[in-house]
Symmetry: C2
């Protein structure tokens, strides 16, 4: 005879990606053994996620303010816009500490087979933004996958304008990787993208 | 620049066992993309866990009522008490559908090296319960580990009384397992515990 609140929690937890029934059970029993305030902090964090997070009207990054902290930061270079598929990619770039421009989050990539066309992404907003702003360069940082590449090519045409540089992130052997364990696409990319030393 | 509510949630999620920062991030982004009511259901389930779950004053199973649903079920056999280390074990036995008696949850096992003595478990409550009730058999279902065995031996002495059967769950090769892949303790247990066919 299983207790309803525990059963409920297990059911809700097992809806999360990568969390099966067994893991959900383990998590629920762990939470049962924790202090009440610790569990409530998690409950509140979930609530706040949905109640406080909105979308930035400029770059479509999710944020607790609009415009978001990046768009409203006076120290960022407003002449460069880096286009990413999703927020996670933006975070990855921010964590690298190697970029000081603005972003534009597409919220997906073109995937005709899944019925995702340009109208499902924030592409027209990007085009408007670039047209009216003083953007000098758009960096296409969609992933180096078939769909990411297709999205980049589409964006290059959509954005084409005099005095606008449209660039694509580099692809090659990842830092710390080796040629030996790279597949042939990676090796081909690395050779094709070679640069003067 | 990461949004505070998302950061918060990632931090809370990564406190859970087996969930590292990367998984917490993935879960948070997943939740961000879900409907609000779905996320709030999870938040509420967490809150209810701490607010509605109490301990049964008889068997120390956690439950939303006291006595718990098992102890108050008139169809269960009140002359048999199965002693388990933790609630998860009780659930496992219930799921097997092979037991119709009552339970007693110790909330741990004797572990002198970790400073867990009889006074940290619900052992004295079990002894009182067996002494005053009409219990005919106590099944010791602590795990077949060193500490589970030690706890069982301790309980056998503590419970010893005329007209009381104290039994221990069987150990051997698990159903579906094979001798070939069983370790020598399992094989020895299986041989030692052999029964007439």
């Amino acid at each position: 005879m299983q207790t309803e609140p525990i059963q409920n929690l297990i059911q809700e937890l097992s809806k999360l990606p990568g969390i099966g029934e067994k893991t959900a059970e383990r998590l629920a029993f762990h939470l049962l053994s924790r202090q009440k305030d610790e569990v409530l902090r998690l409950a509140d964090a979930l609530r706040d996620l949905k109640e406080q997070v909105k979308s930035c009207g400029s770059c479509y990054n999710t944020s607790d303010q609009d415009p978001c902290a990046i768009c409203s930061d006076p120290k960022r270079d407003r002449t460069v816009v880096c286009v990413v598929e999703q927020m996670q990619d933006l975070w990855a770039i921010e964590k690298s500490g190697s970029y000081r421009g603005l972003y534009h989050v597409l919220h997906g990539r073109l995937a005709p087979l899944d019925g995702v066309g340009p109208e499902h992404l924030t592409i027209s907003k990007l085009v408007d933004r670039v047209r009216k702003g003083d953007v000098a360069e758009v960096i296409l940082a969609t992933n180096p996958t078939m769909e990411g590449d297709a999205t980049a090519y589409y964006l290059r045409s959509a954005l084409a304008a005099p005095n606008l540089r449209v660039t694509r992130i580099a692809r090659g052997v990842p830092a710390g990787g080796s040629l030996e364990y790279s597949n042939r696409t990676i090796v081909a990319d690395a050779l094709q993208g070679r640069r003067e030393l």
